[in-house]
Amino acid sequence: MTAYRLASGGVIDRSSTLSFKFDGRAMKGHPGDTLASALLANDQLLVGRSFKYHRPRGIVTAGPSEPNALVTIGEGAATDPNTKATVAELYAGLDARSQNRWPSLKHDIGALNGLLSPFLSAGFYYKTFMWPAAFWEKVYEPLIRRAAGLGRTVLEHDPHSYEKCWAHCDLLVVGAGPTGLMAALTAGRAGLRVILADEDFRLGGSLLAETTRIDHRPAMDFAEACLAELRALPHVTIMPRTTVFGWYDDNVFGAVERVQKHVVAPQAKLPVERLWRIVAKRALLATGAEERPLVFGGNDRPGVMMAGAMRTYANRFGVAAGRSVAIFTNGSAGYGTASDLAAHEIEVAAIIDSRDAPLDAAPAGVRVIPSASVIDTRGRQRVCGLVVERAGFEETIACDAIGMSGGWNPVIHLACQRGAKAVWSPELSTFLAPDLGSGLVVAGSAAGRYSLGGCLEDGAERAARIAADLGFSTASNPLPAVGEEVDPSFTALWYSPGAKAKAFVDFQNDVHVKDLGLALREGFGHVEHAKRYTTTGMATDQGKLSAINATGLLAGMQGISPADVGTTTFRPFYTPVAFGALAGTSRDEHAAPVRKSPLYGWAEKNGAAFVDSGLWYRPAFFARHGEKTWRDSTDREVVNVRQHVGLCDVSTLGKIEIFGPDAAEFLNRLYCNPFLKLPVGKARYGLMLREDGIAYDDGTTSRLSPQHFVMTTTTALAGGVMSHLEYCAQVVWPELKVRFCSSTDQWAQMAIAGPKSRLVLQALVEDDVSDAAFPFLSAAVVTLKGGLNARLFRISFSGELAYELAVPAGLGEAVADAIMEEGRGHGICAYGLEALNVLRIEKGHVTHAEFDGRVTPDDAGFGRMVSAQKTDFIGKRLSTRYGLTAADRMQMVGLKPVETDQHIRAGAHLLREGAKASTLNDQGYVSSACYSPTLGHDIALAFLKSGRERYGERVVVWDKLSGGDTVAEICHPVFVDPGNTRLKV
């Protein structure tokens, strides 16, 4: 009673041996093995435990539909749980562990669940665990959670890398079996750019397990010859180890290539997996057909396997699944397996056939039991016999493996991912893909043409038709000659009657026939309900084996056709895809690009601590010796600006150059305040609204010449405003003669602020920058000493006498250095975002902390700025709606703590003194807050209901989240220099 390696045969390299481990046990296999074939060769049939009852389970398939043989491969952070042993390529040093068992695979405590199975019927958890209410989360759920799940992920930082690529072709052929190879050859010979993708590491599909001869030679030799010719064709790309997992719009296919999943130590220079987006003019689905399991009593015992898988293990891998194999079949395919096994001198204990009068030929000396049903299997962790029932008589037949063959299901997963419903074929007793239009064509077994000759012909024919469609001419090549074939017919059998043990439909999720019956009885008969209620088809194999039988059973129980039951929805992914492959290189520090201002180097050498600001890194503060916290530095910088002078990098503000005879008109329609008559040489604050009347973005815009303006935007919305302008110019007002471009990256811009800013600046600028020659809100091109042209704006965010100087980006650092050098005698300091923020709060200037997408101009105190004269601007009409002009709206005010040692934090809410905290009593919130070194206490900007009428009142600043209330006085939001005397000197 062992599985074993046959003395000869198979496309494995017997001259070389690969050592690997399973649950710590050393084993050996050969190149060309999968982990599953190697495990079988080592007689390791028990490979896992099922999800719910922890039943012992063995290998069932030889491919991607495997429900049971899921193992964990790899170590440490490179651990891969839930890997299908049936597709995992064997390599030297592979270390696999079984899953969902404790303490060991052989002795699993969880198997006790099996004894309770009558109580754990489908959906049992919906009906109980409700009392006492608190127990669900404390007791029941943790128990259920621990029991559930299969493999264990380490969730550590993945040491491997991934990448993504695009590929383009005339024809994508999915699957390199007989159909796919013939299609690729036909198209490739005609000159099409062909991509042939197959999930296997060895191409040939069913040909690798086929004993029928093609062109008088073994089928696998034929496959090799096809591949050799394909490799020689210049426009054909062969992609082994590549699973096409999804079909998306515009005939784009998602595929994942396992570049280094079959090596023990991947090379760092290559990704382990690569995501391909394949843009295919046409695609041909040659994914073959899946053998259908039979639903009979005890059908989950290790040793029960798909008959076709047994055939594959014998023919392709040279492995026998057992020494004495029984076959349970409802069609001729079971006989084909029996013949192949017999040819390998494996004993065939019996062929049990559900049909009444099978005409198929059994191997010599093999007993055939027609009109029979398998009702139970014997054995514990490995099958040792089965019980057959025929005409009321039961008989036990000894065997150490059972091959089941229940017919064929075309693999149409990809074809049905985009909404097309599978169509029931009564002739073939299966679901087929509907006509999908020209983009994707299904061929060969995947289209229900199961015979080898049919596949070869179909592949060639359909590819020729595609080639002709695309304007290529195909030479007519004779089809390969196929030897005598097994007839693929079968008689559908959804359930083998008389089961004396659980008859499983979904192996991994432990759904058996009675669960489906219960679902039906309780009203969950719709195929989607049945799936969701019983979890059939929801395991990692996504119902590849189980779905069709579930449909057949539901139909049978209701006495209707499977056509009326239908299928559940096919969705990506065909087989599971790693997060890493789909994420590619976009991870960790490379998750998003980094933007650095042209003054980054200047800031760095001045000791900046940087902070993220969108994609930018901006200087937060410039720590000096002895300063312990950001506050120390910030306070110094603020005081320094107010008393002397400071330099701040403002290059990240969006800058847009706007030209044209209608530039002024364009701006006048974009901003809510007037711009038509802005004189040349002047800057003006501009406020843009959304069409719904809410403030969108602000900045200064200057007129450099009659038809040239330069607009600044906030850093955050630089991109958004640009798109907004483009939309308005192209779509809303295409009649305006205006052109513009972003120049954000072209200019290094610095704010020079403080009472001594003019002294510093004048030393560097040829032009006169005195108040008389260059008053507040002036804007001009000036010449720096040495001849460089620069843009100078007299604008101020800090409330001090201030300028913004813009120079070409590449010269920014040199100019900033020069300013710092010139300013040293005047006590200049570099200041960062934190100080900038304090300075603007002291001055009552707004940022997006105030303009948060819900605030009107009037809320923020800009009501009078909004033009009543203009006939139109973006946002004009909807800004007059009732709710936007209501008297109880929250308006921006200043707050200062009554006790000046108390603190106010942004995000705190406001309550009337004595009022109970409630949503109804909520009066507003703090949008910005800081310690003001100028005033010596905290200050804040806040939005408060009818706030402007309430200066002088007290309000409770309610910050439950940090646990403190503060009483504050409501005041005008400009804390420093409300008369603007400092800025206009």
């Binding site: 749980p81 959670r145 993945d158 009203g523 969705r571 992914f573 790693a578 997060f579």
Partner: protein, 416 residues
């Protein structure tokens, strides 16, 4: 049949053959006092509360497919009440309280799991926004906690603390937030409604709305005409399509939102976690799959499927937040059609058409709202007046200037 541990044992001993259907399969009657169009979570909940809380007797729910076939069966199962604006927070907290008593009320285990919802923040302005939100929650009596980086490291050591492009600085935690088993919510309401006499009519597609003198008198369906006193529309995703049958003008676009589940894994993520440097949210189901999602695809769509570009983007954000996800395999993706409203908030409202009541615009917040949505919609239909916690969710708020815009993104649905 009442469900209990006892009923399970009793039925197990009789081979589980005596379980009764969870609901009847009635043929439609010619007339109902109230017809709810849409047999999803909200429609079923509405019918249940109409019968249970407001004493109505003659109610039908019309569902074009199978019960729970809309978004209640295709979401990421998150339940929370961590909103900022007064138009939303009291409503969602009302919902949270209903969730907390739902299973006993329905006699159905919807597996509510209050495991905690954590929203990460990555910069100071985000932190300030979360403080504002957390305080808004407290105003409504809802506990919120601000977690700093050290606390997060202890709770969620697998987050990307060392190599993040946007460093994780902290998070806002609502401990009462969590997940519920989505299908069970639909089934629980359906079964409970059925037991109160509500007719749940599946495979019954509404094809027309009959009106007389500007008021609805019944619906044409694939099963013939059915008269009604009042009609409640709860078909989010398809609100516009049904609304159009009554010439209803709606501030809604239908968009596709994808969601994902991984292969089953042993417990590893014990909370609901949302990413602040993008749009990504993840939790682990009781079955072991990691359930997650991101942003909508961005284009109008009625197809319940999305595209690869969005899939990739979601995975990028997931791996950026939790690097160890890299080797976890994603099993399945699916798409739901969302009613995206113009301000990102829902609508429970009268309409300009007599006898026609609207429940829609749920964007991607519909699941957590299910109980309150049902209750408030039932209140509106039964009493013809708005429930206090839903009083801001009016259809005319757009024309009147009372948008409830949590994101501050303005009237562009794909930005919410």
């Amino acid at each position: 049949m009442r469900y209990s541990a006892f009923s399970i044992v009793k039925n197990a001993l009789s081979g589980n053959l005596d379980w009764k259907p969870a609901w009847r399969q009635p043929e439609p009657k010619p007339f109902y006092d109230v017809i709810i169009v849409g047999g999803g979570g909200h429609g079923l909940a509405t019918a249940y509360y109409l019968a249970k809380e407001f004493g109505l007797k003659n109610i039908a729910v019309l569902e074009k497919g199978y019960l729970g076939s809309g978004n209640v069966g295709r979401n990421t199962t998150i339940v929370r009440s961590n909103y900022m604006l007064p138009g939303n927070e009291p409503f969602y907290e009302f919902s949270m309280k209903l969730w907390e008593g739902l299973e006993q009320d329905l006699n159905y285990n919807a597996m509510l799991s209050q495991r905690g919802v954590i929203n990460l923040y990555h910069n100071n302005s985000q932190r300030d926004a979360y403080i504002r939100r957390g305080n808004a929650m407290w105003m409504e009596g809802v506990a919120a906690e601000l977690l700093d980086r050290a606390a997060l490291k202890k709770m969620l050591p697998f987050l990307n603390f060392d190599h993040a492009r946007f460093p994780i600085l902290g998070g806002l935690l609502q401990k009462r937030g969590g997940t519920a088993r989505h299908d069970a919510v639909a089934w629980g309401y359906a079964r409970a409604a059925d037991r109160l006499g509500v007719d749940l009519i599946q495979n019954c597609e509404v094809t027309g709305i009959r009106r007389e003198n500007g008021a609805v008198t019944g619906v044409e369906t694939s099963k013939g005409f059915i008269g009604c006193g009042k009609m409640g529309l709860a078909a989010a995703g398809n609100t516009s399509r049904v609304g159009q049958m009554a010439d209803l003008k709606l501030p809604i676009e239908s968009h596709v939102l994808q969601a994902f589940v991984t292969e089953g894994l042993k417990p590893v993520i014990d909370h609901v976690i949302t990413y602040g440097a993008g749009h990504f949210y993840i939790s682990q189901s009781d079955k072991g799959g990691l359930v997650f999602g991101g942003e909508i695809d961005g284009y109008n769509s009625y197809a319940q499927r999305g595209n690869l570009a969005t899939v990739e983007h979601v995975m990028e954000e997931g791996v950026s937040m939790i690097p160890g996800l890299s080797r976890v395999r994603v099993l399945r993706s699916w798409g739901g059609v969302m009613d995206m409203s113009m301000d990102g908030s829902p609508i429970i409202s009268h309409t300009p058409i007599g006898n026609l009541y609207l429940n829609g615009g749920w964007c991607y917040g519909g699941f957590k709202a299910t109980p309150a949505s049902g209750w408030c919609f039932a209140h509106l239909i039964a009493k013809d007046e708005t429930h206090p916690v839903a009083r801001f969710l009016r259809l005319d708020r757009f024309a009147r200037g009372y948008a409830i815009d949590e994101r501050g993104a303005g009237p562009q649905p794909n930005l919410h």
